[in-house]
């Protein structure tokens, strides 16, 4: 069942129940008032009649005879009054017998001497009031409450008509209003379906300011979060695929060379010179595979490591250690490495940070030409490695920390790189909650900032 039908039906039931209860209460009050009025009238009438009888009797002077009473009452044209003396009826136009009247259980009125009782005769409910007149006569007044019942029925009927007359249009109106206010829900549901089907950029209209509008806004927030998450997942998936493709390429190239040289050595008659070259290539390519495997292991190990044991590391000591490590390779290329130690310290793992710094210096040395200088210095607690070498094109800067990314592939390969150095460095830096910032201009050099937070 649709929500709008449900709400309308519940509302109809509630309105009907409430109206019925209030109608019932009103009707009961009405009935009680009408009966009380009839009761009071009956009391008044019996008292009036007895008073009139006494007046009449005293005007006669002598003792009052039964026939005088009969005639008086008859002259009044009162068909609902009964007069009884000593159990004998003096005046009675009704079907009631004196015994019935005299023996009925009576309850007193507030007025002294007056009494009343109810009885049902021939299916009609009668209210009978009673008093004594002139000491010897029992006067009864009979009130037929049938009219009262008819009146009450009419009231009940009218009330029911009003009840339905109001409830039905009210429910119809409610149905229309509910349907209108639920319309955004329908749109929202369609939006949700579209998103489920893959249209992650779908957004709901946030028209009104009420709960449905709020829901639409929340829905949009959720959709945005989903879209971002999906995009991030897709990107990471693509990165993973790229990584696997690059990795298999890096693996296949040395393998092809090694197996190719091995086959050649077995099958081909080679000159001594070629045989030597083949063996040399097998050695260098195996070493390359070994390096690749080691670096991959290290990357994996760093990837799974949650946190590091940090100690206080002096930036100056770090610089000097890196300078010492990289000096031999730099000297071979005719590059000078200078360190300008300051007094800064950071929290970190000395060995890992040393690896990072060595990698940065190594890259700087590789980028530099003969006679150039690689500078290591610190400023504001950050470490800088600056060279005046060939520089990195702006378009490549954002990719250089990706695994297997090489700006100049053939040069990197020839110098034995697998393209994992900066990826490793970036991973270590991430574990230190630090940041690597690259500034570079082609032909003017590169400056890498190791920024500690």
């Amino acid at each position: 069942m649709k929500l709008r039908t449900k709400i309308s039906m519940i509302a109809a039931a509630v309105i009907l129940a409430a109206a019925a209860v209030s109608d019932g209460i009103i009707w009961t009050i009405c009935r009680r008032m009408l009966i009380r009025e009839a009761d009071q009238n009956a009391c008044r009438r019996v008292v009036e009649i007895s008073a009139a009888l006494e007046n009449y009797s005293s005007s006669l002077g002598s003792s009052t005879s039964d026939s005088a009473v009969f005639y008086y009452l008859k002259s009044q044209g009162d068909a609902y009054t009964v007069c009884i003396r000593n159990g004998e009826e003096v005046y009675n136009q009704t079907v009631l017998t004196p015994d019935e009247l005299m023996n009925a259980e009576k309850e007193p009125y507030p007025q002294p001497g007056a009494e009343r009782f109810w009885m049902t005769k021939n299916g009609v409910r009668l209210l009978i009031s009673h008093t004594r007149a002139i000491g010897i006569y029992d006067v009864f007044c009979v009130t037929d409450t049938g009219e009262l019942e008819v009146k009450l029925q009419k009231i009940a009927l009218g009330m029911t008509a009003v009840l339905f007359g109001i409830t039905i249009p009210a429910v119809l109106l409610l149905y229309v209003l509910v349907r209108r206010s639920l319309r955004p829900m329908k749109q929202l549901s369609e939006q949700a379906k579209a998103i489920a089907a893959g249209a992650y950029d779908q957004r709901a209209a946030t028209g009104s300011n009420d709960e449905t509008g709020q829901l639409a806004r929340d829905f949009n927030t959720m959709a945005e979060a989903v879209e971002d998450k999906i995009a991030a997942l897709t990107e990471s998936e693509q990165k993973k695929t790229m990584f696997m493709a690059d990795f298999s390429h890096e693996l296949k190239t040395p393998l092809t060379a090694i197996s190719g040289y091995a086959q050649t050595l077995r099958a081909v008659k080679l000159s001594d010179e070629d045989r030597d070259a083949a063996l040399r290539y097998i050695c260098t390519e195996s070493a390359r595979l070994d390096r690749l495997a080691k670096k991959m292991m290290r990357l994996l190990e760093l990837d799974t490591r949650e946190s590091l044991q940090f100690e206080e590391v002096s930036l100056g000591a770090l610089m000097q250690a890196a300078q010492k490590t990289c000096q031999p390779a730099a000297e071979q290329k005719g590059v000078t490495v200078t360190a300008e130690p300051g007094s800064g310290t950071v929290q970190g793992d000395f060995d890992l940070l040393h690896d990072v710094l060595c990698n940065l210096v190594d890259n700087a040395v590789k980028a530099s030409g003969e006679g150039q200088t690689v500078r290591l210095y610190e400023s504001d607690g950050d470490l800088y490695v600056a060279d005046s070498g060939c520089g990195i094109p702006a378009a490549e800067l954002k990719n250089i920390t990706e695994p297997f990314y090489m700006v100049d592939k053939s040069r990197s390969r020839r110098s034995g790189g697998a393209g994992l150095g900066l990826a490793l460095a970036a991973q270590i830096v991430r574990l230190h909650h630090a940041e690597l910032r690259f500034e570079s201009e082609v032909g003017r050099g590169t400056c890498v900032c190791l920024h500690f937070v």
Binding site: H249, K252, P254, T256, A257, S259, A267, D408, S410, R413
Partner: protein, 219 residues
């Protein structure tokens, strides 16, 4: 005249490996380490019988270099580590003769190259090896002016050995290259024919048995 082969391969080890094998097979390899250098050399010198191009190269990749090579009508074989279907289709649809995925076997490379070479131009009709003159279309072998009679299979075996001179070929490979892939014979057959060749041609020293591999015709 030996075949000139253009090799564009950024990995030094692999380029040298191919070069070494081609030289052993009597070809003349010319090696470039990036696409750009190869493309620039073309206008001045494009007398190549075949080009082997690596797809992933710095500066200019193999597909781009192929566009430069096409006008000279040089047949091309792509040589790559990219073994996804899309790359293969791109490579072959662009008009390349073949697409070889790394890691490859050297013999496979040589056989494929030979197929491409024979498809694309007049193979030299005559092979000269160890003082013999092998006339391919006439199916005749001459030493000096004297003809040496050979049975058809012996002749085919000699041609395969001569084409891959200096390279050892396994008995299985010889079976499939000479008798065809569907031949269900034993490797003994090869030994018998080799024996016949040695005897008829007097090549006891030149046709070398390489232990655990097969036979090699040395020159």
């Amino acid at each position: 005249m030996s075949k000139r082969i253009l090799i564009a391969e950024d990995d030094e080890a692999i380029a040298a490996l191919i070069g070494m094998n081609l030289r052993a097979a009597g070809m003349e390899p010319v090696i470039f380490h990036d696409g750009e250098a190869a493309a620039q050399s073309l206008p001045a010198d494009h007398r190549y019988d075949l080009a082997l191009l690596d797809v992933m190269m710095p500066k200019k990749d193999g597909f781009a270099l192929f566009a430069d090579i096409r006008p000279y009508g040089i047949p091309v074989i792509f040589l790559t580590a990219k073994d996804d279907l899309a790359s293969k289709i791109t490579g072959l649809q662009s008009g390349a003769e073949d697409y070889i995925v790394k890691p490859f076997e050297v013999l496979e490379l040589l056989v494929r190259m030979e197929k491409v070479l024979s498809r694309n131009q007049q193979q030299d009709d005559t092979l000269h090896v160890c003082g013999l003159e092998v006339r391919l279309s006439e199916h005749r072998v001459l030493r000096g002016n004297a003809e040496i009679p050979l049975k058809p299979m012996e002749f085919d075996l000699l041609v395969v050995l001569a084409k891959h001179r200096n390279t050892a070929i396994s008995r299985e490979d010889l079976l499939s290259l000479v008798w065809g892939v569907n031949y269900l014979g034993e490797t003994r057959t090869v030994d018998v024919h080799i024996g016949q060749l040695r005897k008829k041609l007097g090549l006891q020293k030149q046709i070398v048995t390489v232990p655990k591999i097969g036979y090699r015709l040395e020159e």
